[in-house]
C-alpha cells in the first residue's frame, strides 16, 4: 500500500503540472500542424531551418540547386508565424515536345538562334536556364479558445513568370481538442512573359524567328480551396483527411512546348504548314483549354510505434482535363538513439493522360492542307502523358548540442511512361530517372 508522504505528493504534483504544461503546447502544436507551421521543438519560441536541394536528371537533363530558409516563431499571446524564403537555379535541357526522328532536326530557339536534335535524340532546348526567388509567409492568431485565424501571403519571381498570392483560413478545435477542422482559401495572380513572346496557338515554329505572336505577356488566375479534418485516434496516432479544389483560368499553355507534324510514315513534314508561313518548320505550338478545375482528396495517418514513427498518405486526384492519379507515400522514422534517426521513404505515383495529350499531329488528319490544326486543344507535354513513377529515399538525422539538428537525405526517382498505341518503338517516350540530395540544418532559440 502506498504511503502519502509529502515528498511523493510534491513529486506527483510536479509531474502533473509538467504534463499539463506540455499538453497545452501539444494542443497548440496540433493546431499549427494544420497550417503547416508545426512546432519543431515545443519548448522553444523561434526556429530556423536552413536547407539546400540539389536535383539532377543526369548530364543531359535538368539540374536544380535550391537553397531555402524557413523561420517560425510563436509569441507570448500564442500568435504564430512562419516565413519561407527560397531561390532556385535551374539549368540544363528540357524536352520541347517534338518527336524523335531518324534524321537531324533543327529548331528555332526563343532568342531566334537554332538548336538541333541528332539522329534518334529526344529534342530538347539546351540553352535553358532560369533563376527564381520566392517568399511565402503565414500568420495565425487565436480569436477564441478553440478558433484560430490564419493569414497567408506569397510571391515569386523568375525571368518569365511572376506570381502573387493572398489568402487565409480558420482552424476550429472541438471534441475536447481531439478534432480540428480547417478551412482555407487562397488566390493567386500569375503573369507569364515567355522568352521570345507568347506564341499564337497552333501556329508553326518559324525559321529565323521563334514565333510570330504579337503579345509579350498573359495572365492566369488561381483559386485554391482546402477543407480538412484532423482527428486524434489514440495517444499514439492521428489521422487527417483533406479536400482540395483548385480552379485555374487564363493562359494555361506552356509557351515553349510544340507538337511535331508527321506524315503517314511518322516523318516530319511542313507540307501543310508552309501555306501558313513559307518559313514554317514542321512543329506547331501547343494549345490547352483556358480553364482547369482540379480536385484531390487525401488521407494521412501518423502512428507511433514505441519511438519509431510512420507516416502514410494516400491521395486521389482528378481534373476536368481528364487526368486522374493515385499517390501512395510511406515514410518511416527509425529511432537509432536519442539523437539519431534513419528515415526511409517510398512513394508510388500513377497518372492517366489528359484528354488532349497528343504524341504528335498527323498531316492530313489533324492538320489540313492549308496548315490549319483541326483540334480544339493539343499538347505533347510529357507531364500530361500517362505514366507511373516511384521514389526510394533514405535520410539520416543527428541532433547536436541541445536542440540543433542536421538532416541529410538522398532520393532516387524513376518515371516510366505507358507505351502509346500507334507510336513507333523508336518514338516512344524515354523513361526518366533523377537523383535528389537534400541537406537541412535546424536550430532554435
Amino acid at each position: 500500500m502506498m504511503k502519502n508522504n509529502p515528498k511523493s505528493i510534491t513529486a506527483s504534483l510536479t509531474t502533473a503540472t509538467l504534463v499539463l504544461l506540455q499538453n497545452t503546447v501539444s494542443d497548440v502544436a496540433q493546431a499549427e500542424a494544420q497550417v503547416q507551421a508545426p512546432v519543431q521543438a515545443p519548448a522553444q519560441d523561434f526556429s530556423l531551418d536552413a536547407g539546400v536541394l540539389y536535383y539532377s536528371e543526369g548530364s543531359d537533363g535538368v539540374q536544380v540547386i535550391k537553397p531555402a530558409v524557413r523561420i517560425t516563431g510563436k509569441f507570448q499571446d500564442d500568435d504564430a508565424f512562419n516565413l519561407l524564403l527560397t531561390t532556385d537555379a535551374i539549368t540544363g535541357a528540357t524536352p520541347n515536345g517534338a518527336v524523335v526522328q531518324q534524321s537531324v532536326q533543327t529548331f528555332t530557339s526563343t532568342s531566334g538562334g537554332t538548336y538541333k536534335a541528332g539522329v534518334g535524340e529526344r529534342p530538347k532546348e539546351d540553352d535553358f536556364s532560369e533563376y527564381r526567388i520566392s517568399i511565402k509567409g503565414s500568420y495565425s492568431f487565436a480569436v477564441s479558445d478553440n478558433d484560430r485565424i490564419l493569414l497567408n501571403g506569397y510571391s515569386s519571381r523568375e525571368r518569365d513568370y511572376t506570381s502573387l498570392g493572398l489568402g487565409g483560413g480558420l482552424l476550429h478545435d472541438f471534441n475536447n481538442r481531439n478534432s480540428t477542422l480547417n478551412v482555407e482559401l487562397n488566390t493567386y495572380l500569375d503573369w507569364q512573359e515567355p522568352r521570345g513572346g507568347i506564341p499564337v496557338e497552333f501556329t508553326p515554329m518559324l525559321s529565323g524567328i521563334h514565333n510570330s505572336g504579337p503579345d509579350v505577356r498573359d495572365t492566369k488566375n488561381i483559386l485554391d480551396f482546402n477543407l480538412g479534418l484532423t482527428q486524434i485516434l489514440t495517444p499514439h496516432s492521428l489521422v487527417k483527411v483533406n479536400l482540395n479544389i483548385n480552379n485555374s483560368t487564363g493562359y494555361l499553355n506552356n509557351p515553349y512546348q510544340v507538337l511535331s507534324v508527321l506524315d503517314a510514315n511518322d516523318n516530319i513534314t511542313s507540307d501543310g504548314l508552309i501555306n501558313v508561313d513559307p518559313a514554317a518548320l514542321p512543329y506547331v505550338f501547343e494549345k490547352r483549354p483556358d480553364d482547369r478545375l482540379r480536385s484531390s482528396v487525401f488521407g494521412s495517418l501518423v502512428q507511433n510505434f514505441g519511438g519509431d514513427v510512420m507516416h502514410f498518405t494516400y491521395r486521389y486526384y482528378w481534373d476536368d482535363w481528364q487526368v486522374s492519379s493515385n499517390t501512395f507515400d510511406l515514410r518511416y522514422r527509425f529511432k537509432l538513439t536519442d539523437k539519431q534517426a534513419l528515415m526511409p521513404h517510398l512513394r508510388y505515383y500513377q497518372q492517366s493522360e489528359a484528354e488532349f495529350y497528343r504524341h504528335h499531329l498527323e498531316q492530313g488528319v489533324d492538320v489540313d492542307a492549308n496548315g490549319q490544326v483541326l483540334l480544339n486543344a493539343a499538347s505533347a507535354d510529357y507531364r500530361l502523358a500517362a505514366f507511373s513513377s516511384y521514389v526510394i529515399g533514405l535520410g539520416y538525422s543527428m541532433q547536436f548540442a541541445s536542440t540543433d539538428e542536421m538532416l541529410i537525405r538522398l532520393e532516387y526517382f524513376a518515371e516510366q511512361f505507358d507505351k502509346q498505341n500507334g507510336v513507333r518503338a523508336d518514338q516512344q517516350l524515354d523513361d526518366l530517372t533523377a537523383l535528389s540530395l537534400q541537406i537541412r540544418y535546424s536550430f532554435y532559440w
Binding site: A16, Q22, N23, V25, S26, D27, A33, Q36, P38, V39, Q40, D49, R70, N82, L84, E130, K136, Y154, S156, E158, Y161, G165, N175, N176, R177, N178, Y188, D190, K220, D224, N226, Q231, I232, L233, P235, V239, K240, V241, N242, R294, S296, V297, F298, G299, S300, N304, V309, H311, T313, Y316, Y317, V323, S324, S325, T327, R333, Q351, A354, R383, F413
Partner: protein, 73 residues
C-alpha cells in the same frame, strides 16, 4: 465510382466514427506533441519534395507544404 474515391469514402466514415468515440485526454497527448508526430513533420523537406513532384507531374494538392505559383509546370 472508382477505387480511390471508395477507399477515401470508407476512410472518411471510419474517421467520423473515430470523432464520436475518440476521447484522448489532455495529459495523454505528450507523444502527439512531438514534431515527428505532426502531419507535416519536416516542412522544409516536404516543401522540397512537393515542389519536385509538382514540376514533374500533372497533379497538385497534398499536405499543402508546397504550393504557390511557379512557371515550372
Amino acid at each position: 465510382m472508382n477505387t480511390g474515391k471508395t477507399i477515401l469514402l470508407i476512410g472518411l466514415m471510419a474517421m467520423l466514427q473515430a470523432c464520436a468515440s475518440s476521447q484522448v485526454q489532455v495529459w495523454e497527448k505528450g507523444v502527439l506533441a512531438r514534431s515527428d508526430m505532426q502531419i507535416v513533420p519536416d516542412p522544409l523537406i516536404y516543401y522540397f519534395d512537393e515542389h519536385t513532384y509538382f514540376s514533374r507531374e500533372a497533379s497538385i494538392g497534398g499536405t499543402g507544404a508546397g504550393g504557390g505559383g511557379c512557371g515550372c509546370n
